[in-house]
Each structure stands twice: as structure tokens, then as C-alpha cells.
Symmetry: C2
Subunit: 337 residues, 2 copies
Amino acid sequence: MPNPPTIKEIAKRLNLAASTVSRALHDHPRIGLRTRLKVQELARELQYEPNQTAIFFQQKKTFTLGIVLPELSEAFFSAAISGIEDTANKSNYMVLLGQSHDDTEREQKILEIMKNHRVDGLLVSLAKNTVNYAHFEMLRKYNIPVVFFDRIPNMPDIHYVASNMESGTIQAVSLLLRQGHRVIGMINGPEKLIASQQRTTGYQKAIQQQRLKYDASLNVNADLTKEGTRNAMQQLLSHKRKVTAIVAFNDYVSQDAVQYAVEQGLEINKDISFVSYANLPISSYMAFPPLASVEQYPYLQGQKATEILLELLSGKLAADQYQQIVIDSRLVIAPGR
Amino acid sequence: MPNPPTIKEIAKRLNLAASTVSRALHDHPRIGLRTRLKVQELARELQYEPNQTAIFFQQKKTFTLGIVLPELSEAFFSAAISGIEDTANKSNYMVLLGQSHDDTEREQKILEIMKNHRVDGLLVSLAKNTVNYAHFEMLRKYNIPVVFFDRIPNMPDIHYVASNMESGTIQAVSLLLRQGHRVIGMINGPEKLIASQQRTTGYQKAIQQQRLKYDASLNVNADLTKEGTRNAMQQLLSHKRKVTAIVAFNDYVSQDAVQYAVEQGLEINKDISFVSYANLPISSYMAFPPLASVEQYPYLQGQKATEILLELLSGKLAADQYQQIVIDSRLVIAPGR
DNA sequence: AAATTTTGCGCAACCGTTTGCCCAGTCATT
DNA sequence: AATGACTGGGCAAACGGTTGCGCAAAATTT
């Protein structure tokens, strides 16, 4: 009862060496069948369980993956983490969690702690204002592999999984164009974000496919806050051309924009229509859900990123074989529309 | 560059014993000022960092808390985990995550793995169909303290933090009564859930405070699925007395119920009104948000539960001083109503 | 029957840190 | 000058498991 049984304990009782017991438990071929069975039986009887901390220490490996992401309360991330967890668990890895709450400083601290905790590898989605990547460079020295997902840094020589917003954006804008919209506003995210740039590119391509002219003043960068969105809407609604449709950065932004439009007396889906990028599984309950939404496959992203990390850890992949996986986003038409 | 510096390394370079270095780094008073400074300087220079896995092993402590909960995609839990994480981090603990996805079997597996990973303690919110608690009893043998939160087992001698749904329910029903409603339906959760029972009690008390009679047929148990909710609504709407208000188990249920009512041609907030229990921070975007919602303070619950666990771990609290904290829920009127 | 290989197991070091105990030198007390 | 009390530091064990190497006995080959 007091102390959990150890290998030494088993060895003593059976008059064997600890090494023999260890090997027997691992079905080492050099151990005779009889002793092997004896050992395994006693181990079962004593309910022996290896002390993982000892193994971690000895093997210099913790079977732990660190996850650093901005906010679990964002549906995208809580879906992604399920993909991560499921994949990690299949390979007997556990998941250490850290939320940056979109604060770079906190992100750095978490990284520091995780490094000290000796996680085997890291899965990271950046805080939205992280522009300095020194804390990630630092990890290279410690040989801790990092795979980024979704919010990836603008940095060479990294592993990442991200969705390409371009394809989904093309589809979204094309849909609006097919529906006859000609003046389409875009509430985009922070300019430096890759995801914002991809949205811009997609928007341009879709417009130009129809031999229309791209009007940069219809593409407004906002900061994803409610206030920012409202300002962007104000700007778009006062555009000299009449905006009849909006592509919003994500569902949260979309809903804030809808709210503003309603306040301005506009009738949704008549005066103005919305498409968005899927963050919310519950948008069917919304007063005015977007016409369509670009799916970003969060679970899949988490899964792929974890798979890469695991391959890096198992040596199947060399650290400098940089994996850069892009998952095409895809437009999903809201049911019943 | 090859191996990270160790205490032994420092000791060798300074011609000291490892023990002296260790003590010097910990500002042990028995070490002279001069050597202490010398050691600390070299440590800084070499960028020495203690090998946590070695410390974990030696101290039989991992500074890791295991979190087991049903679903991070439920807003309640993603808020709770922030409370947990923040509190844990303050005391230099990290958080190991495991989602049961409301599957008892998976819950057991996670517990097993976490035990093997030697987490110092556990914070658990039960899968909704967990009725057998053997896997938790097992943890006692390993001296791993567990604090339950929100979804707590019906079991004596445990630590827990949970919100008491009764107070909020009384307030919710009272509000409806004040507004003139006399026939109030309740879509409750699974009968065996403590949270369901508390809702029932609260409902009864509020009714009886007004010298009205409790009608059990107005209190319907459902399984929280969309179908279950629709069945419950059907039952309530066909009640011989005309139901003019509904208390829904949570916001998800509420929205499903609203949807059903709308389909039946009822006008929300006129023919029928809804109050609910807060799960969704975004209900302001809903087509028909509940009139009011019972707040359950997820962040606070996570925080309190973690505080208790930390006190248990630090020995401030004995394992058998069972902490059972109940946080009163409180009705929050939706803004602008 | 001798030489060789195989089989089965033990010895001991090692991973990095902490900590109880011991010891030598220094200083202060009688 | 002898005794005692500090001061500053070292020795070695311990935490639990793994693994390279060595060695004897058994089995096989010649």
C-alpha cells in the first residue's frame, strides 16, 4: 500500500536482477520463457506500473505535446484541439495546453514553461499580434520541433498546416457575383496576416475572372473587434458605389456587421447580403446567418499538424524537411438557402 | 551545443561538488557568498536550466494538473478551462488536457493515462452518462487528489465546485411569474443529473412562493439532443393548459426549442417566451435570444476548483477535509429587454 | 571429447538533481 | 590553550528504469 511497486521490488522477490525484470517486462528475447512468465505474473499480481517520470527522465522524452493557441473559446480552436488530441492520443502522447489569449508576451512565457517542462514538440497557432519570432527561433537550439497551424508566422524554414483562404474566397465572391452583386465589400483582417492577404488575392481573382475591375477601397482592413467592424461597415456603407454584399472575415465579424446594418435600417438579404468564414457551428440559430460560409476544416488542420509533429518526433521526417501543408478552404452554402 | 549544461558540468568547471552547485543555485544559506555568486554567474553564462524531468522524478511531482472534461466546444467548458489555466499557471503548474467527448469509456482511458503520466492532481467534469465511479475510486489508491467541477458525481467524500441551479431557477421562474405567466413549461435535463434536480426544486419553490400549484407534467425531462428537445416541446405545446413560457435547460436547448416554436407558427416573446441557462456568449446575435439567462460562472468555477486542488497539493488542505463549494447561479436579464 | 555457439541472466553505470550527514577550518568562548 | 560553536563545503545515496557488456551453463557443432 505505501509505495507503488517498482522493478527492484519485483526483482528482489524473485531473486532476479532488476535488469532481468526490466527485460522480461519488455519481452526481450534474451530472457527465458519461464522467468519471463514468472516476472510478468508477479508484475500483474502486484499491479506493477512503470514510473513514467523515471522513464521520461531516462529516455529524455516525455510523450507530451505542447499546444499553444490564442483562445479556446473560439470555435475554430476548440475544434482544432480535438483533432490534435485524438491524433496525439493514438500515439500515446498527451497534450499540454496553453492559451496565449492573443497576447504575445504570454505566448513567450508559455513557450518558456513548456520548454522547461520538456515537451517533445509543439503545435502553435500564433497570437494575432505576434510579429517577432525570436521565441520560436530559440526552440531550435533545444531541438524542440514546432509545427504551426492556421495562424502561421511569416518565416522561412518552418513546418505548418494552414488553410488557403484564397480558394474559398474565390468561391464566395463568385457566388455573390453569380447572384448579381456587383459592388462587394470585404471586411478583411489585419493587413499583415497571411490569411488577410489570401482573402484579398481571392477577392481580386474572382472579380477579375468576370472581367471586372478590382476596387481596393472596397477591401477594408479591420482589427476583428466589434468597434473595428462597425467602423469598417460605416466606411463601406458610405462608399460612393452602393455596396450590396459583404464578405466578412469570420462569423463573429459577420454578426457584428449584420447588427450594424440592421441598426442602419438595412434589410438583410435584400438590401445587403453576407458571406463569411465558418467559425460558428451554431450559426443556424442566428437571426441572420451568412448566405454561405467558407469552411476551414479545423479538426483536419489539427490532425494533420499533429501527424507531422509525430513524424518529426519518430524520425520519419527530418527536421529540415519542411512540411508546408495547405488545405484548400471550401465554400459551404447554408442549408435552406 | 550538444548537450544542455548540467549541474555536474558547472561543478566540474568550478571544481566544486554538484551538491554545492545545487545549493548555491537555490541560495542555500550554507553556501558562502563568493562561491554562490561564482556559481550563479557561470550558470547564467552557460544558460543553465534545470532539467525538469530529473526534478520531477526526484521530487515525485510533475507540477502538472490533469483536466478531464466532456467537450471544449461547449462554451461553458472553454470558459472554465481558462479559469483553470490561469490559476494553475500562477502557481507554476501546467495543464494536461483530455476530452471525454461525453464517453465514459474514454473518460476511463484518459484517467488511466493521466495517472501514468503522474499528474499531481485532477480536475474533472463528468461525461454525461458516467454513473460508475470506480475509475475515480481507483485514484485514491494512488493518492492523486481529484476536484470535480460542474458535472459532479453523486458520491460521498469528494471535493467539488458546482453551481447551484436552484437559486437561478427561482429567479428565472419568478421573473416569468412577475411578467404574468401562469403556465410555465420546463425542458429539463436527464433526471439523474443533479443539475436537473436542482432546476426542478427551484421551479417548485418559485411556484409555491406565489401560492401556486406545482404541476409535474409541465416539467419534462429531455436528453439535450435536438430531437429530444423537439419532443419535449411538442409535449408541452399540447398540454391541456396553454404554456406561455419555457425554461430551457441551456441555451442550445433553448434555441432548438425556439426553432420548433417558430415552425409551429408561434410568435416568440408574444405567444411564448423563453428563459435559459447561459452557455453562449454570443446569444446576442441570436434571432430570438432568451429573455434572461442563468449565469453559471464557468471561469469562477474553474478557478475555485483549481485553488482547492492546489491547496490539497500544497498540504494546506488535508485530503479528507472535503471541500464542497456551491456557487449560486444568478439570473441575468438580456441587455435591452 | 573438445571447440564453439547460443541461451539466460547479472553487474554496474547512467540519466540530473536533491539532501542527510560528515568533516575541516575558523572564530569565539572559557 | 583547550573546548565548543559556526561556517562552508564535499560525499554518497537515492529516485526507478534501461542497457552495454560480461560470464557461466547448456546446446550445438566438429
